[in-house]
Amino acid sequence: MLELKALSKTYKTGDRALSDISFSVPAGQVVGLIGPSGAGKSSLIRCINRLVEPTAGSVCLGETELTTLNGRALRQARRRIGMIFQEYALVERLTVMENVLSGRLSYVSSWRSFLRRFPQADIDQAFSLLNRVGLGDHCNKRADELSGGQRQRVGIARALEQNPELLLADEPTASLDPKTSRQIMRLIQSVCREMNLPAIINIHDVVLAQNFTDRIIGLRAGKVVFDGLPSTLSHEALTRIYGAEDWGQMQQANEPQDDDVLLDNTLNSSLNSSLDSSPMLVSS
């Protein structure tokens, strides 16, 4: 379980990215974090694993208070948090396998990782995760040989290789086509269900967020302005988050996808059927 208390971040330039953010995420809950560009979504996610230093407030993962950690303790806390990036952030010139194994770096010595001598258990886990995300045959390819969707699957496998207690995703679908975006979101949602893993997914696409998350948090100018079930995200709430816009039109524009949405909902209710029907999810 993750708990944020009065988290604030002010950048050196004086930009107040986050002010007084408090919420908690119970185990297994997938949270969609939405808001306009510059609302502080990225800062919020990065304050949790301290890629960005929060200015005030606290972040607790289980019993650990993350904001005060340093050095070794910080590294050991970071490995409990898996992160999925926009544009994948794979190390392009390493193989798929090396990328996935880099999730275990904090568990092995620098020397062993330099020689690429990871424990067999780590390698077995990497193979089974790659099979789980449907890339079992690609482990010796270089990361830059893969397509966008495949790369993001490797990104997911790398995050899961850490055996995380929390998953953070920073716009995981930003550079993917609509179909691949849905597949990636479905994959993240289903692994979170399987592992009872809480996740915070920072996402621009409101419809995608509504379809694949259990809870939506709306951020505007560094403040939480909406927190509720995806089904309660009304036009009024969207206006609060993004400002005035003809929100009915957006949902109409998505109507042709409605069948797909329905299909998704039924699939999500049962993990197995979702595995069977989407060709890229090979059950391991």
Binding site: R79, M83, F85, V91, E92, R93, R104, L105, S106, S110
Partner: protein
């Protein structure tokens, strides 16, 4: 504006042109070209061979030593990896190394360690450090920060971040730069010989001093040939590394 034109005219007038010496120089130049066209590889071959071996040894050893020292300094001089004090220290080493031309360093080192290739080796190593560390540091700073963040976010140690996120990104360029520096070092090794730092430059200098332009021509042709070979093989290796 008109002031600078007046200055330019005065300045040109102050350059004394001795037309007789120009004539003599042209004649010597012509003899030089003739010598170049009829190169004599055989009569001074012993000296040429010794000079070449010295030059090539200097080139290779100084490049290897330069790369070995440059990697830690380059990492230390990259703002995104090194803390501020280390950064300042490494940057000042680079600035020091880059502020002097090879010839000046060679003159200094020859007067410290005497004539011969050891001074040349030190000169080229010193110059290589400035060149390679600076370009390596800039390359590290240009690395995709998302890849570095991703490895850091997994809880990796600093060494592991360097090994997994930075090294794969800069390795091809580091190899390319090292080969380019090998090329430069060979050319420099023939120049610094003139101030006494050994190598084929010293042989060339002796040949010119003795008015043996045919031997000098032979040495120049050999230098050009070696530069071409290094150039082609390094571009081939660089393609292969990509």
């Amino acid at each position: 504006m008109s002031g600078s034109v007046v200055y330019l005219i005065l300045a040109i007038n102050s350059v004394e042109v001795d037309w007789f010496r120009v004539y003599e120089g042209l004649e010597r130049g012509w003899r030089f070209i003739q010598g170049f066209l009829t190169p004599d590889f055989s009569s001074r071959w012993q000296d040429i061979q010794i000079g070449l071996i010295e030059s090539l040894t200097m080139t290779l050893t100084s490049t290897v030593a330069g790369v070995l020292v440059s990697v830690p300094i380059g990492i230390g001089a990259a703002r995104n990896l090194a803390p501020a004090p280390v950064y300042m220290f490494c940057r000042s080493i680079i600035t020091l190394s880059r502020s002097f031309q090879e010839i000046i360093i060679a003159i200094l080192l020859v007067s410290m360690f005497g004539f011969g290739p050891f001074a040349g080796f030190l000169t080229l190593t010193f110059a290589s450090i400035g060149f390679l560390s600076k370009l390596l540091a800039e390359d590290i700073e240009d690395c995709d920060s998302a890849q570095i963040d991703a490895i850091r976010a997994s809880g990796a140690r600093w060494w592991q971040v360097v090994n997994y996120a930075v090294q794969p990104q800069v390795m091809p360029r580091l190899i390319g730069l090292s080969l380019y520096r090998l090329d430069i070092n060979f050319r420099e090794s023939s120049v610094i010989g003139i101030v006494g730092a050994g190598g084929v430059g010293a042989t060339l200098n002796t040949a010119i001093d003795r008015y043996e332009y045919d031997s000098a021509g032979a040495i120049l042709i050999i230098i050009i040939a070696i530069v071409l070979v290094v150039e082609y093989s390094s571009s081939y290796i660089r393609r292969w590394v990509q």
